[in-house]
């Protein structure tokens, strides 16, 4: 018997029909079947997982129950620091690096009884939308191994979709949780900026990065989010107040909920017809369930993509400066300290990271600072104002998560701009700092999953999850297709 959801597994753990060790074995067995084709993990901690599972079972048997994540195997994106476990951020420059501390989100997961199964693949330093920028090779989409899983949290999305963990953590800077969740047919949420501590998340763009959950079910994602969120004194940007639990309003339905339809969010055009059709079907179902829809326009979000591609590189150019070969990570010797640093960075960073560091360095340079970085910050303010206006008329906003379904590997690697456009629907929420979630609602003509995005005002996760759960239930999408051993993996690589 295979468990696909956290809630289901948690129930079974308590009624004695499964043990944590059993869940761990299921996950490891599944991984041994598909990992060679998918390459979702960079580090699989089989021994650690089995030991932790045994301990979790002992605790439960002794009557010490840590809650719904107790004994549940979770896959974590490899840009979150894990004590005693290699953490690479998908980069050669951190190959072999073992951090001395756990990220706050990891510590909270462990405290909640969750088991860290391993560290998942990602675009190097989370820069990318296909996981092809990983220094350790790409991850493939479990629905079709010729296709990308999306990115940058492609490893976590693929691992969850393929049953190599019951839930996962990703990080989302411009869509890096939602877009791969959409492409892999699972649920992925980016919380309000500051809801989850960034302490221990290897920074890409500090003002945009958020850690969030990936799962088969909206309620699973809410459980994961509630376990890791909350104020952290180690992150001064973490929200100091209390937030309503994400799962507080699950089952609240859609009756009377005002839904703003942001069809052209981010200036999106060229939305694939199957995506558009699935989106419209979901909308119609929502209306049928009592939702009130209205079309909204957020014109400033059209500049979101260009603002994002100035702010994120600018911040990353400073964030990645610390990787210099002096204290940790790859070191390539040189005649002088400067030469050692520059050789280490040249060899350690891949082309996309190098491109963005250069772009960001330029955007911050004297004489260009105001025209680029300053202007981009102004756009950000305008986008926040657009959202605020929209939320005066509606409770949530919805859009497709991605204009396309999973694209073939190699399709966009030669043209960075075509890759950048992958995030047009997701970037505005990061720029505004608002929560957003992707829920799978259907398949396209190639049997590839289509995601539906629900966005909410800051700290309104509970409303967002309420709506997302309703959408999920209306769509009746079976996320477990690639998880079913009888389905196998399709595509050219077997």
């Amino acid at each position: 018997m295979a468990f696909t959801t956290i809630v289901g597994a948690a129930r079974a753990l308590r009624d004695g029909s499964v043990t944590s060790v059993g869940l761990a074995e299921q996950v490891l067995q599944r991984t041994s079947m598909v990992e060679a084709q998918l390459h979702a993990y960079l580090t699989l901690d089989s021994d650690g997982l089995m030991e932790a599972a045994a301990r979790a079972d002992e605790e439960l048997a002794a009557g010490s129950d840590r809650g719904p994540l107790h004994g549940i195997p979770i896959a974590v994106k490899d840009n979150m620091t894990t004590r005693h476990m290699e953490t690479t951020a998908g980069s050669r420059i951190l190959s072999g690096y073992v951090p001395p501390y756990d990220a706050t989100a990891i510590r909270r997961l462990r405290d909640a009884g969750a088991l860290i199964a391993g560290k998942t693949n990602l675009d190097e330093f989370a820069m990318g939308s296909s996981t092809e920028n990983s220094a350790f090779g790409p991850t493939r989409n479990p629905w079709n191994t010729d296709r990308v899983p999306g990115g940058s949290s492609g490893g976590s999305a693929a691992a969850v979709a393929a049953g190599m963990a019951l839930g996962g953590l990703g990080s989302d800077t411009g869509g890096s949780i939602r877009q791969p969740a959409s492409l892999c047919g699972v649920v992925g949420a980016k919380p309000t900026y500051g809801a989850v501590s960034r302490y221990g998340l290897i920074a890409f763009a500090s003002s945009l990065d958020q850690i969030g959950p990936i799962a088969h079910r909206v309620e699973d994602a809410a459980l994961l989010l509630d376990a890791i969120s909350g104020h952290d004194p180690l992150d001064s940007t973490s929200y100091p107040g209390g937030i309503e639990p994400s799962g507080a309003r699950l089952g609240g339905g859609l009756d009377g909920v005002r839904v703003g339809v942001a069809r052209r969010l981010g200036g999106a055009d060229a939305v694939e017809p199957d995506v558009e059709a699935a989106f419209d079907r979901a909308l119609a179902a929502m209306e049928g369930a009592g939702a009130v829809t209205l079309e909204v326009d957020l014109p400033s979000t059209e500049q979101g993509l260009s603002a994002y591609y100035l702010i994120a590189p600018a911040e990353c150019s400073a964030n990645l400066a610390r990787f210099d070969g002096v204290r940790y990570g790859l070191r390539v010797d040189g005649a002088t300290t400067e030469q050692m640093m520059s050789r280490s960075r040249a060899d350690g960073f891949g082309p996309e990271v190098t491109r963005r560091v250069l772009l960001g360095t330029f955007a911050l340079s004297a004489g260009y600072h105001e025209a680029f970085y300053g202007q981009a910050q102004k756009v950000r303010t305008l986008i926040r104002e657009d959202f605020a206006r929209a939320y005066r008329q509606c409770d949530v906003l919805v859009s497709p998560t991605s204009a396309t379904t999973a694209f073939p590997l190699g399709d966009r690697t030669e043209d960075p701009l075509s890759m950048y456009v992958s995030d047009v629907f997701t970037i505005p929420s990061n720029l505004a700092g608002h929560p957003a979630i992707s829920v799978p609602v259907g398949l396209d003509r190639h049997d590839l999953p289509i995601g539906f995005q629900v966005m909410a005002p800051a700290l309104e996760e509970a409303v967002m999850f309420q709506v997302a759960a309703a959408v999920e239930s209306l769509a009746g999408f079976d996320t477990t297709v690639p998880f079913d051993p009888s389905y196998g993996l399709r595509g050219g690589v077997r």
Binding site: P99, A203, D235, S236, E338, A366
Partner: protein, 482 residues
């Protein structure tokens, strides 16, 4: 042509907070290398800074003491540059919105003036490199050692406007600033340990109305004396060049204490581009009126105010400056002594003179470490005034008090130093001497007055210095009928 020097100083003050600026590590860097470190101050992947509230309290106190206004929403910026001992390869510093702006510091003494303060900003210190092999310079070193104990220690930078006009005034400003920082108790304020560091920007122009000349930054001065010498040397160097028609190159020069010269380093091509931008890891602070008022209320009496108060107590300006400039314990001793009834000028003289000398002789580093109190000093001075102790005996008593032998009265009695001012007792001594020296007494009676001194000397010898010499003199002249 009369050349005029234009000088601005940048002062780095290391705060003596318990923990570092952005992490919980102890802000001590005298420990074993790399023991006071953590993921944050080591710049490990994923680590984040959290500002130290006490450091913000202290920079506000410094700014308020320098008559600055407090920025309501100051912002931390990242200052980007690559250096091996800078763990993140950016320094968290401040740019256009520092904590405090627009103040001034009055400099008195021989080089008076109001030196305007442009800004007071908060930043974090770097680690420390030690280059091994070669001649200790980075270029020739075989390898370098890095100690990150200092990394992240809170640093306050105080930047003046170019209002200083001479090397001596630069020194006076620096000394006054150190006194201020010391009075605030926000820093160890020790130059020799690098807890206060000065950089000087020096230029020279053709008189007060001429446009500013090209400025040169001088670094590596670790005493007030070297600051004054370096600035003075640099003014002379620039004046000589300009007088002979040469240009000044914009550069950073290092003071070579031994050779007494500044040496050119790498030439600055324009100003470095540090690509400042607001640190997204830190939310802007809200320094509201209440916070500011709370800090203003904490300000102690500032050195300038204290000097005026001492002068009003009847102490001359130089002595008041001495007291304010002295170790804090001495000024307190003085104040306690006056409180206990001592005369201010006498107490000031003793505190800055005999007390310092006695402590030094006894090898005691500070008043606090001795058993001398303000009331015992007042008692001692009272005994001098009443004539129970001679000046020389009082010095001996002071040594005894400092050595912990008891109160001045106890020490004087114990060491048998009380002055004989009992007329009856002295009369018998005088009469014995007259009987023993009939010739001299006869000559005295005949009007040879200088022999009074002879007899007083004899009295002092016979009493082992305890006689009141004035009283002895009076008795002798009386006996001689003069």
């Amino acid at each position: 042509m009369t050349w005029e020097a234009v000088i601005g100083l940048e002062t780095h003050v290391e705060l003596s907070t318990a923990s570092k600026m952005f992490c919980g590590c102890p802000a001590r860097f005298d420990a074993e290398p790399n023991t006071n470190i953590c993921p944050v101050c080591l710049g490990l992947p994923g680590a984040l800074p959290v500002p130290n509230r006490e450091a913000i309290n202290r920079i506000m106190q410094i700014g308020l003491a320098l008559n600055c206004s407090v920025t309501r929403r100051p912002v931390f910026h990242r200052k980007n540059y690559f250096y091996a001992d800078l763990p993140k390869n950016y320094q968290i510093s401040q740019f256009d919105l520092p904590v405090c702006v627009d103040g001034y510091l009055e400099v008195g003494g021989d080089h008076p003036g109001r030196i305007r303060i442009e800004r007071v900003h908060q930043e974090e210190d770097t680690g420390k490199s030690t280059h091994r092999g070669g001649d200790g310079r980075i270029s020739a070193a075989e390898y370098s050692l890095l100690d990150f104990n200092r990394s992240g220690v809170p640093l306050v930078e105080i930047v003046t406007r170019p209002d200083i006009r001479s090397a001596a005034q630069a020194r006076a400003y620096a000394q006054e600033l150190r006194l201020l920082v010391e009075a605030l108790g926000v820093s160890d304020a020790r130059l020799e340990e690098g807890s206060i560091r000065f950089d000087a920007n020096v230029s020279v122009r053709a008189g007060p109305r001429a446009p500013l000349g090209t400025k040169v930054e001088i670094k590596n001065m670790n005493s007030f004396r070297s600051l004054e010498r370096a600035v003075s040397y640099e003014i002379e160097r620039q004046t000589a060049r300009l007088s002979s028609g040469q240009r000044i190159v914009m550069e950073t020069r290092h003071w070579d204490e031994e050779a007494g010269v500044t040496r050119g380093g790498r030439i600055k091509e324009g100003s470095s581009d540090y690509r400042y931008f607001p640190d997204p890891d830190l939310v802007p602070m809200e320094l509201d009126r209440d916070w500011e008022d709370g800090m203003a209320a904490l300000l102690p009496e500032l050195p300038s105010v204290r000097r005026v108060r001492y002068e009003e107590m009847g102490i001359d300006a130089a002595q008041a400056a001495n007291l304010v400039g002295a170790e804090a314990g001495l000024a307190q001793l003085f104040e306690d002594a006056v409180e206990a009834g001592a005369g201010a000028p006498q107490a000031a003289n003793w505190a800055t003179g005999e007390v310092v000398a006695s402590l030094r002789k006894a090898g005691i580093p500070s008043v606090g470490g001795s058993s001398l109190t303000g009331s015992s000093l007042a008692e001692l001075l009272g005994m001098i005034r009443q004539g129970t102790l001679s000046g020389s005996a009082a010095r001996e008593v002071l040594a005894g008090v400092i050595a912990g032998e008891g109160s001045p009265a106890e020490v004087a009695a114990g060491r048998d130093l009380l002055q004989i001012s009992d007329t009856g007792l002295l009369e018998s001594v005088v009469d014995e001497l007259i009987a023993a020296n009939p010739d001299e007494f006869a000559r005295l009676k005949d009007g040879e007055r200088k022999l009074v001194g002879f007899f007083v000397g004899q009295v002092m010898r016979n009493t082992r210095g305890k006689a009141d010499p004035k009283l002895a003199g009076t008795l002798i002249t009386e006996r001689a009928g003069l």
